[in-house]
């Protein structure tokens, strides 16, 4: 008998737990039965019942669920490290390298694929098994629930990934522009965390080498002089400006493209889902159409036969009539 308080947002629990009352009634009935003399040897039977094994289906479904839960726990555990915006300066030991991140991505994907394979397999088995309708429906719904759970966990994973991609893009943007401003031709550009060699880096390296090359040549020319002439300084300045603008435009474009790619992938997911949904309907329609063409063909055949029969029938009638008239003529001639 409980009347517990729940959070202030909900109402107090007003349902009455009479399980204890029930157990008391069980005892009463037991004693009553003993008094009357009906005895049940309950203890032995209970032991027998308890060793009844669960059906294979439930066990396997439960296994899939535990696997998915493991994946979810793993993702959540490493979530903080995964999306941490580890700055260049900090030498935090808990920071994940991007190789580890990629590993996590790959593992998670393989895991999810195996789980969905297992679900599909179970579904196929349920279809094949000859079980009463209610059990089939129940199992189908169980698999639906497991699939929804899997989808939820996948969403967690893809959100993490999207955050990671965004952060990388932002990081690149930040780390690009600032060194540009303060760089001198001879100073090498600060190398940002190079998880992925992008076009920018390669092109920037090329242009660095270009700049360096031109700077070296200029240097060679001006080696005689002690200091750079103002024109040369201006020329270097102009080169810098040009490089800066080129870089930033390239960076902008690539950033945008990256963002768009992420969005497009999301859209693709949605579209793929819809297309898959339509697949079954289209299959249906296909079947119906095939059936309809078959029927029409058969109908044509039947009509052809009917026409033939009709024609044949007519021929026979005509023949019969002609024969009858001939026989009449013959009889008439014979008589007279």
């Amino acid at each position: 008998m409980t009347c517990r308080l729940v959070d202030s947002g909900a109402c107090t629990e007003m349902a009455v737990d009479i399980t204890l009352l029930f157990k008391a009634s069980v005892k009463t009935v037991k004693t009553r039965n003993k008094a009357i003399g009906i005895g049940f040897d309950s203890t032995k039977d209970e032991i027998f019942k308890r060793s009844r094994t669960k059906s294979g289906f439930t066990q396997r479904a439960k296994e899939v669920i535990t696997n998915i839960t493991k994946l979810k726990d793993f993702l959540l555990q490493h979530r903080k490290d995964y999306i941490s915006a580890g700055s260049l300066i900090s030498s935090d030991l808990t920071r994940m390298t991007d190789g580890e991140r990629d590993q996590i991505d790959q593992d998670a994907q393989i895991f999810m694929r195996t789980c969905s394979e297992a679900i599909k397999q179970l579904r196929g088995e349920v279809e094949k098994q000859a079980a009463p309708a209610q059990i089939k429906e129940h199992r189908g719904s169980v698999l639906d629930l497991v699939e929804t759970y899997l989808k939820g966990v996948c969403k967690v994973y893809s959100e993490q990934r999207a955050i990671r991609v965004k952060r990388m893009v932002d990081k690149k943007r930040l780390s690009r522009l600032t060194p540009e401003r303060s760089s001198r031709p001879e100073k090498t550009l600060e190398v940002a965390p190079t998880e992925e060699k992008t076009i920018i880096e390669e092109s920037s390296e090329k242009s660095i080498s270009e700049v360096q090359g031109s700077a070296v040549s200029l240097w060679e020319e001006g080696r005689v002089e002690d200091e750079l002439s103002p024109e040369e300084i201006q020329m270097f300045e102009q080169e810098n400006q040009r490089l800066v603008s080129e870089m930033s435009s390239l960076v902008d474009e690539v950033r945008q493209i990256e963002g768009k790619v992420v969005e497009i992938s999301r859209l693709q997911e949605i579209f793929a889902e819809k297309v898959l949904q339509q697949e079954s309907e289209i299959d249906n329609i296909h079947q119906l159409v095939v059936g309809a063409t078959e029927n029409v063909k058969e109908g044509n055949e039947d009509i052809r036969e009917a026409i033939k029969n009709n024609a044949g029938f007519r021929v026979w009638i005509l023949f019969f009539l002609v024969m009858c008239s001939f026989s009449l003529l013959f009889l008439d001639w014979y008589d007279s």
């Binding site: 107090t12 349902a15 737990d17 009479i18 049940f40 669960k54 009463p132 629930l145």
Partner: protein, 631 residues
């Protein structure tokens, strides 16, 4: 009572479906699957509150009726939700013997008696499954909540507690006792779910008084029993959001017989009156019934379609109390806005097609992908909106057809004039003898309202005239006998005053405006309701505000929390009440509910809950009256 009645009952149901532990908020929790078994009462309680999809989300894989054939599903917990009647108990025992499920959670809608519990115990013992019966609960949910602030007692066996059952001439004391007990049981469950002990007021000398006495006794007993009380002090003070106790007003149908017969003009009441509307579900025949089938062709097969009008349907929630022309306009507006949104989405297609090869189109691309994403994510909403618009279009068209064919607007206007005792421009006889204004039932209703609201009974001559006219129109006159009896019984000095109501036809201008809409309401007057108060509302107002009024002064007063039951009718509490529950014994309808809702809107800070023992529309009420009149 900050949460509405509906929310409270839904929360209780969800908790029950989660094995009686509060459900976690975590969305990505592991699914636990279960099977739900209910009887018809349980089905009626659950169906207005939780849809099948919500049940699925909570892990219910199968939901089955108790008395159907069920296959054993050996490793799944089963949740039972049913009334503790004999046959249900027998079926549970049978299930236990057949060992259909792995574990059993039994939830009884109202309290189960000790002897029945022992029956289940002995069956469980016989089948050696006592360990499988995991939990047994008394849920105290024996009422059906239809709206946020409206509940009815039962739908299945409502003949047992209908107006006819309570007021028939040959009723025995035992029958009456049984009826009162069941009503009080449901009301008790209602207050347990609400979590408050009310102050009860009721009029003297009728069924409402009996109910009040019994309810007071039951509440009192429960409060006294400190060990088992369902209203413990701790939970009350800490969990309550208001410091006041609600007021519980019991009313009897006999006090106001005209309102159930009244033709209504608001959307929800019209649907209930004209179409088949039960437990928030409308069942209609598909296809227009107006076109005659072309000669020789087979008539169009009409299929029945049923629509659910739920709390999630925003249009319904907004417009269920509006007068019908307004609804028609709003449907049109919704349709227009939906079409505009659809066009936007289609427009995107053309933009996408254009910019294929443009190089400088990266910026445009970014806008468009964002637009595309938002369009695609808003597609499901758009589809849902379309479905709702279709639903309401169909329903409103059906209602409009009825209005036009039966000239319900004329009836409404006339009845409003009768109820407000303003001058009548047409004579009653004209309307009754008019052959194409309404069905015989409508005419009978009109005449009964006239009879009820007339200050003095019409003369014999007039009565004969009316009788003849009604018989010509094909009406059944037995309700009239009963109403005569009723009038003699109540013999109220002032017949129920329906207050000032006015009906203004809106005139030509609005009719011109309406012709643009799909609902061509030519010939249907655009009537505007002015605020008026039905008797129930006025009584409630008097009692809540502690105003003194001859009608309500001699109402009895019960306070279950007081130590001594007092017979006085002097209220101890002098402050006006903020919350009230109105319960009509003998049946209620949506017109009263709408009136109370309007009243609540006009007085901010008030909350009123409406309940009735059964919900009937005018046709059903007439049937009961004619049964009573035939005795």
């Amino acid at each position: 009572m900050a949460a509405s009645v509906r929310e409270k009952q839904t929360v209780a149901l969800r908790r029950m479906l989660n094995f009686n532990t509060p459900p976690l908020k975590n969305n990505a929790a592991e699914p636990v699957w279960k099977v739900l078994i209910y009887d018809r009462f349980g089905q009626d309680i659950i169906s207005p509150l939780l849809s099948v999809k919500e049940l699925r989300d909570m892990g219910i894989t199968l939901h089955l009726l108790l008395h159907s054939d069920r296959d054993p599903i050996p490793d799944v917990p089963a949740i039972y939700f049913l009334m503790p009647t004999e046959e249900n108990i027998d079926r549970i025992c049978q299930d236990l013997r057949n060992q259909l499920y792995e574990s059993y959670y039994l939830n009884f809608i109202s309290a189960i008696s000790r002897s029945k519990l022992e029956d289940i115990a002995s069956a469980a013992l016989a089948a050696n499954v006592v360990s499988q019966v995991t939990k047994v609960f008394d849920q105290y949910l024996n009422f059906i909540t239809l709206e946020d602030e409206m509940f009815i007692l039962c739908h299945q066996n409502k003949e047992l507690i209908s107006y006819h059952a309570i007021n028939r001439a040959d009723i025995q004391d035992t029958d009456m006792e049984a009826i009162m007990d069941s009503i009080v049981d449901s009301l008790f469950c209602f207050f347990v779910t609400l979590g408050a002990v009310p102050i009860i007021r009721c009029p003297r000398g009728n069924a409402a008084e009996m109910v009040a006495v019994k309810l007071d006794k039951k509440l009192r007993e429960n409060l006294r029993d400190a060990r088992n009380s369902l209203f413990t002090g701790d939970s009350m003070s800490a969990g309550q959001f208001s410091f006041q106790r609600p007021l519980f007003v019991l009313a009897d149908r006999n006090m106001d017989m005209a309102t159930p017969l009244h033709h209504s003009w608001t959307y929800q009441a019209l649907i209930h009156d004209v179409l088949d509307f039960h437990l928030n579900r409308v069942v209609m025949e598909e296809g227009s019934s107006m076109e005659p089938s072309p000669g020789g062709a087979r008539p169009k097969k009409k299929s029945k379609k049923s629509y659910d009008l739920t709390a999630a349907d925003k249009f319904w929630q907004k417009h269920k109390g509006s007068p019908f022309p307004e609804v028609a306009e709003s449907v049109q507006e919704e349709l227009d806005s939906y079409r505009a949104q659809e066009d936007e989405v289609k427009h995107l297609k053309s933009i996408m097609g254009l910019e294929g090869e443009d190089e400088g189109a990266i910026s445009m691309l970014s806008d468009n992908t964002a637009k595309l994403t938002s369009a695609v994510s808003s597609l499901p909403e758009l589809l849902e909106k379309k479905r709702l618009i279709d639903l309401h279009t169909n329903v409103a068209t059906a209602v409009l057809d009825h209005i036009k064919s039966r000239k319900l607007d004329v009836y409404f206007e006339y009845e409003e004039k009768l109820l407000s005792k303003s001058n009548l421009d047409k004579s009653l006889l004209d309307i009754i003898t008019d052959p194409d204004a309404g069905t015989p039932e409508d005419k009978m209703r009109l005449f009964l309202i006239y009879y009820i609201t007339a200050q003095q009974a019409p003369s014999e001559l007039d009565l004969e005239q009316y009788r003849k006219a009604l018989l010509d129109a094909g009406c059944d006159l037995s309700p009239l006998n009963y109403i005569k009896q009723w009038k003699a019984f109540t013999k109220m000095a002032n017949p129920a005053n329906y207050g000032n109501s006015g009906v203004k036809p809106m005139g030509l201008f609005s009719r011109v405006m309406n012709t643009g809409s799909q609902f061509v309401m030519e010939g249907v007057k655009n009537l505007v309701l002015k605020q008026h108060n039905l008797p129930v509302t006025r009584i409630l107002d008097n009692l809540m505000e502690m105003k003194s009024h001859p009608e309500t002064d001699d109402y009895r007063y019960f306070d279950p929390k007081m130590l001594r039951g007092s017979e006085s009718s002097v209220p101890r509490n002098k402050n006006p009440f903020q919350e009230a529950i109105v319960f009509v014994v003998g049946g209620g309808n949506y017109i009263e509910y709408q009136n109370l809702v309007d009243y609540t809107k006009s007085k901010p800070g008030r909350k009123v809950v409406y309940g009735c023992s059964e919900l009937f529309n005018a046709a059903q009420f007439m049937k009961q009256l004619s049964q009573l009149g035939q005795k």
